[in-house]
C-alpha cells in the first residue's frame, strides 16, 4: 500500500466520515470538512509537479484478485498527473464555492459532500488505474455518483429524469467499454494497459481488434457527451450548479477524453480510429455550438458549449493519431501538434468552463433566474462578476489575451494540417470547424452581453441583484487568473505536462524523433490561422448584432425536425411498450398455454433431434407372440381411454380410468410381474375409492362436466406427443446395445437371502429409492391432511 493508494482511498474514507461528522458539527458548514480532502490531495499531487521537468512515471501495485490477474495497480505519468491536478484543484475550488452556494439550513449537506467525495475518489481511481478492470470499476463509480448528484434534489421530476437519462446512456457506454476491455484481455493476455501497449503489434493482429476499438470508443463517446450521445448532458443541468461546474464541465465528461488519450498508443495507428474520432468530434463541435445559440437558460447554453468544446478536443485527438499511421510517416511530427493542442485545450476548457459555471451559479443566486430573457443591465450592480464572466467567455471564444486564444489557434493549425495531408474532400473539416468557432463566438457574446448589459428589468427578477460574497467569487477569480496566466506563460505546463504526455501518446513516432520539443507561444506570427480568427470575430459580431432576425426562424424549423431528445424519449416509451407486449403475448396466465409451450418444445427438440440424427429404428423380429386375450385386453384399454375422453359424467370418467388401471394390472400379470400386478390392483382400488370419496363429500359439485370440445391445435399437439413417445419407445426397443445387468440380481438369494428378486432390489440393492418413496408418500399424506383440515386459516369470514 503506497501513498498513491492512500490518496485514492482518502475520499472514500471521507464518504463515511462526512455523514458522521455532519450530525455532531452543526455549527460549521460541512463543506469545510470536505474541503480538507481535495486540498490535501492537490498539495500531494502538486508535489510531483515541476515546471521544468517531466515526472518519472510511477507504478505501484497491490494485489486485489491475483488469481484472475486483477491488481490494484496505479500508474502516475504526466497525463494522469494532469487529470489528478484538475480533479483535485478544481475540486478544491468547487467545494469552496459550494460552501457559499449551498445553504447550511435547507440542504442535506452530508449527502451532497458524501456523493462528491465518492465521485472524486472514483475519478482519481479512473485516471490513475493501470488495470483495465480496476479502471472500469472506478469508471462505473463515477457514473453512479454522477447519477446521485444529478438527482440531488430528488423531489423534482426533472432531476430524476435527467439522472435516469444520464445513467442509461453512460452505463450503456460503460458496458460496451467493458466488452472492449475483455477483448483486449483475450488478445493480449493481460489487463495492464502498459503491458498491452508494450505488445502493441501482436494485439493489433487479433481479429476482434477493430470491434474492441469501437466498443471502447462507444464508452468514451457516451461519457464525454459526443454526438449523438450528448443528449444526457443538458438534462444533467438539473444538478446543483457546483456539480455542473465540477462534473459536467471539468472532470467527468473529460473521462472519455482521458480514455481516448490513454488508448491512443494501442489504437492510434489505425485509420478507423482517427477518422471516427475526427468525424464524431467535428459533428459534436458543430452541433453543440449551433444548439447553444438556441438556449435561453444559461446553464443549458453552457451544457451545449461543453459538448461542443469536448467535440473539439476529441477531433484534435483524432487528428493527432493520424501521425501514428505509417501512411503519414513524413508528416508525423506536424500531426503531433494536434495532440499538443488537445491537451492544452483540455486544461483551458476546465479552467474557463469551471469559472463560467460558477459565475452562472452566482447570477442565479443573486438574481433568482438564469434566463437570459429576464437578465440584463446588471453590469454596474455586479462589476466583479461581470469582469470574471467576461474573462471566462472571452477565453472560450478564443480571444487574446486569454489562454483559449492559443488553443484555438492551435486547433485551426491542426485542422489545416489535416486537410493539407488528405484528399480534397477533407477541406470541408476546417471550414466546419471555422463555422463552429463563429457560433462559439456568438454564444460567448450572448453569455456576456445578454445577461449583463442592456435594459434592466427590475420587475422580472426575484431579488435585487448585488455583488456576491467574496467567498463565492474566490473560486472563479482564481480560475480567471489562471486563464490569463496560461496565455502569458504557457511554459507553465509545456515541459512538465504537455510534452511528456504527447510523447507518451505516440511512443513509436517519438522513437524516431527523440529531439522533438513542444513549443507554445502566444504570438505565432502572421498566418492563415490569425486571419481566420479575425474573420470569425468580424462575422461573429455582425451575426450577434442581428441575432433577433435569424434566430427564431432557423431554430423553429430545425428543432422540430431534428430533435434527438424526442428520439430518445420515444425510443424509451416504445421499448417499454414492446417489452410489455412481448411479455403479454406469451405470459397469458393460462395453464393450457404454458403446457402447450412445454409440449411443443418436447416435440420439436426430441422429434427434431431424432430426425436430424436419423435414429428411428423398428425391429419386430424379437417380439414375443401375442395371444388373442392380450389383444382383446389392449383394445379394451384403448376403448376405456377413449370413453374417458368423451364421457360427460364425472363418475363415468373415473370408472373409465379405473378400468384402465385394472387392465394395466392384468397386463402386469401377463408380463410375469406379480408384485406389480398386486400393487397396481390395490393402488387402483384406493385411487378410485378416493375419487369417489371426493364426490361423496362434494354435493355442490355437479355430476356432469361440460362435454369436451374438439380443439384442433390440442389434438395436433397430443398426437405429436403421442407419436414422439411411441417412436422413442420403438427405437429404444429396437436398439439393444448393452446386455442388461439383470443377471446380477439373480444371485439375490446368495447376496441378500431373498428369493423374490424384485423385493430384494427394493429393500436391499436399491433401498434408498424405497426410503425416499416412503417420504414422498408421507409428504403427500401431510399435504392432504393440511389441505382438508386447515380451512380459512387466519381469516375471520
Amino acid at each position: 500500500m503506497s501513498t498513491l493508494h492512500l490518496a485514492i482511498l482518502l475520499p472514500f474514507v471521507f464518504v463515511i466520515i462526512i455523514p458522521l461528522l455532519y450530525k455532531y458539527t452543526t455549527a460549521i458548514h460541512t463543506g469545510w470538512i470536505a474541503l480538507i480532502v481535495p486540498v490535501v490531495l492537490f498539495v500531494y499531487f502538486a508535489s510531483y509537479f515541476s515546471i521544468y521537468d517531466a515526472i518519472e512515471p510511477i507504478t505501484v501495485s497491490v494485489p486485489w484478485i491475483p488469481s484472475i490477474d486483477i491488481h490494484f495497480t496505479l500508474y502516475l505519468d504526466s497525463l494522469s498527473l494532469l487529470f489528478a491536478l484538475l480533479i483535485t484543484g478544481i475540486g478544491s475550488l468547487v467545494v469552496l464555492y459550494s460552501i457559499f452556494y449551498l445553504s447550511k439550513d435547507r440542504e442535506r449537506l452530508h449527502l451532497f459532500y458524501a456523493y462528491l467525495m465518492l465521485f472524486m475518489g472514483a475519478m482519481l481511481g479512473s485516471v490513475l488505474s493501470d488495470n483495465l478492470l480496476v479502471l472500469y470499476t472506478f469508471w462505473e463509480l463515477t457514473s453512479v455518483s454522477s447519477f446521485l448528484l444529478i438527482a440531488y434534489w430528488y423531489q423534482r421530476q426533472r432531476s430524476r429524469y435527467g439522472a435516469q437519462k444520464a445513467m442509461y446512456i453512460t452505463m450503456t457506454g460503460g458496458f460496451s467499454m467493458l466488452l472492449g476491455f475483455i477483448i483486449l484481455y483475450v488478445a493480449s493476455g493481460t489487463f495492464s494497459i502498459r503491458e498491452i501497449i508494450a505488445m502493441g503489434d501482436t494485439v493489433s493482429t487479433h481479429y476482434l481488434f477493430i470491434p474492441a476499438m469501437f466498443f471502447i470508443l462507444l464508452g468514451a463517446f457516451t461519457k464525454s457527451a459526443q454526438f449523438p450521445f450528448h443528449i444526457w448532458l443538458p438534462d444533467a443541468m438539473e444538478a446543483p450548479t457546483p456539480i455542473s461546474a465540477y462534473l459536467h464541465s471539468a472532470t467527468m465528461v473529460k473521462a472519455g477524453v482521458y480514455l481516448v488519450a490513454r488508448m491512443t498508443p494501442i489504437f492510434g495507428a489505425q485509420l478507423e480510429w482517427s477518422w471516427t474520432i475526427i468525424i464524431v468530434g467535428i459533428v459534436t463541435l458543430f452541433w453543440g455550438s449551433f444548439n447553444a445559440l438556441k438556449q435561453y437558460d444559461l446553464k443549458a447554453l453552457l451544457a451545449y458549449s461543453t459538448i461542443s468544446q469536448l467535440g473539439l478536443i476529441m477531433s484534435l485527438l483524432g487528428v493527432g493519431s493520424m501521425g501514428m499511421n505509417v501512411k503519414f510517416e513524413n508528416e508525423s511530427l506536424v500531426f503531433m501538434g494536434a495532440f499538443l493542442a488537445a491537451i492544452f485545450h483540455l486544461i483551458n476548457h476546465s479552467v474557463f468552463k469551471g469559472s463560467l459555471f460558477m459565475m452562472v451559479g452566482i447570477l442565479d443566486h443573486e438574481t433568482g433566474t438564469r434566463d437570459i430573457r429576464k437578465l440584463g443591465g446588471i453590469m454596474h450592480l455586479m462589476p466583479i462578476s461581470f469582469t470574471l464572466t467576461m474573462i471566462g467567455a472571452f477565453s472560450m471564444a478564443g480571444l487574446p489575451p486569454f489562454s483559449g486564444f492559443i488553443s484555438k489557434e492551435m486547433f485551426f493549425t491542426s485542422m489545416l494540417t489535416l486537410s493539407e495531408n488528405n484528399s480534397s474532400w477533407v477541406n470541408i473539416i476546417p471550414i466546419v470547424a471555422w463555422v463552429a468557432s463563429i457560433f462559439t463566438f456568438i454564444y460567448c457574446m450572448i453569455i456576456i452581453f445578454k445577461s449583463f448589459s442592456g435594459t434592466y428589468h427590475a420587475n422580472l427578477l426575484e431579488r435585487v441583484p448585488h455583488e456576491a460574497p467574496v467567498g463565492m467569487l474566490a473560486s472563479p477569480a482564481t480560475l480567471s487568473i489562471l486563464a490569463i496566466a496560461l496565455f502569458l506563460f504557457p511554459g507553465l505546463v509545456v515541459t512538465s505536462i504537455l510534452e511528456p504526455t504527447v510523447k507518451g501518446m505516440a511512443p513509436n513516432v517519438f522513437a524516431k524523433h527523440p529531439d522533438w520539443h513542444a513549443h507554445i507561444t502566444a504570438w505565432h506570427g502572421l498566418n492563415l490561422e490569425l486571419f481566420m480568427t479575425i474573420g470569425l470575430i468580424i462575422i461573429g459580431i455582425l451575426l450577434f448584432l442581428s441575432i433577433e432576425k435569424w434566430k427564431t426562424p432557423i431554430f423553429s424549423l430545425i428543432s422540430k425536425r431534428y430533435n434527438l431528445n424526442q428520439v430518445y424519449d420515444k425510443g424509451m416509451i416504445n421499448l417499454e411498450k414492446f417489452g410489455s407486449k412481448v411479455t403479454r403475448s406469451y405470459m397469458t396466465g393460462s395453464t393450457t398455454h404454458y403446457l402447450t409451450y412445454i409440449f411443443c418444445f418436447l416435440i420439436i427438440t426430441v422429434l427434431g433431434s431424432l430426425l436430424i440424427t436419423n435414429s428411428f429404428y423398428l425391429d419386430m423380429s424379437n417380439d414375443s407372440p401375442i395371444e388373442w386375450y392380450e389383444f382383446v385386453l389392449g383394445i379394451a384399454t384403448v376403448a376405456a381411454a377413449i370413453f374417458v375422453l368423451f364421457s360427460k359424467s364425472r363418475l363415468m370418467s373415473i370408472m373409465g380410468i379405473g378400468v384402465i388401471g385394472f387392465t394395466v394390472s392384468l397386463f402386469f400379470v401377463i408380463f410375469r410381474a406379480p408384485d406389480l400386478a398386486l400393487t397396481q390392483l390395490v393402488v387402483e382400488t384406493i385411487s378410485t375409492t378416493l375419487f369417489l370419496l371426493c364426490f361423496y363429500f362434494l354435493p355442490k359439485l355437479k355430476t356432469s362436466i361440460t362435454s369436451l370440445k374438439f380443439k384442433l391445435t390440442n389434438a395436433i399437439i397430443a398426437l405429436g406427443v403421442g407419436t414422439t413417445l411411441t417412436l422413442i419407445g420403438l427405437s429404444a426397443y429396437g436398439h439393444r446395445i448393452f446386455v442388461p445387468i439383470a443377471g446380477y440380481f439373480n444371485n439375490s438369494y446368495q447376496l441378500a437371502g431373498a428369493k423374490n428378486i424384485v423385493n430384494s432390489i427394493l429393500v436391499d440393492f436399491r433401498a434408498f429409492d424405497t426410503m425416499l418413496e416412503i417420504v414422498v408418500l408421507f409428504s403427500a399424506g401431510i399435504g392432504i391432511y393440511t389441505l382438508i383440515k386447515l380451512r380459512h386459516a387466519g381469516r375471520n369470514d
Binding site: E630, D675, C694, P740, V758, D769, L787
Partner: protein, 112 residues
C-alpha cells in the same frame, strides 16, 4: 407383443395429453393418471416381455424376466399414487374455495 404394447401406450399418451390440455381440473387429473399408466406400460415393453419366468427364485427354470424395470415401476406406481391423491384433494379444495373447476377461471388477475 412389445410393439403392440408400445403402440397402445402411445395411444394412451395421446389421449392423456389431450386431457391435460383441457380446461377442466378433473380431466387434467385423469390425464395425469393416464400418463403414468402409459409410462409404466412402455417401460415394461421396452425391456422385452415374457422372456422368462416371474423373478421369483423358487420358480423352476433358469431364465427370469428382467426384475429391474419391475422395481422401478413399483416405485413409480406409489409415487404417482401419492401425486394423484394430492392433486385430487387440491382440486377438491380449489372447488370448495373458489367455486369452480375451470382452469380458465382460475387464471387470476392480470397485474400492472
Amino acid at each position: 407383443m412389445e410393439t403392440f404394447i408400445i403402440i397402445i401406450s402411445g395411444i394412451l399418451f395421446t389421449i392423456a395429453v389431450y386431457l391435460i390440455l383441457n380446461k377442466n381440473f378433473l380431466r387434467i387429473i385423469l390425464g395425469v393418471t393416464l400418463f403414468s399408466h402409459a409410462t409404466h406400460l412402455m417401460l415394461m415393453a421396452i425391456n422385452g416381455l415374457k422372456k422368462g419366468n416371474a423373478p421369483l427364485l423358487s420358480e423352476h427354470g433358469e431364465i427370469y424376466t428382467d426384475p429391474i424395470p419391475q422395481a422401478l415401476i413399483l416405485t413409480s406406481i406409489v409415487i404417482s399414487f401419492a401425486l394423484t391423491a394430492l392433486l385430487l384433494v387440491l382440486g377438491y379444495r380449489t372447488y370448495i374455495e373458489l367455486g369452480t373447476d375451470n382452469m380458465k377461471k382460475l387464471k387470476g388477475e392480470s397485474h400492472e
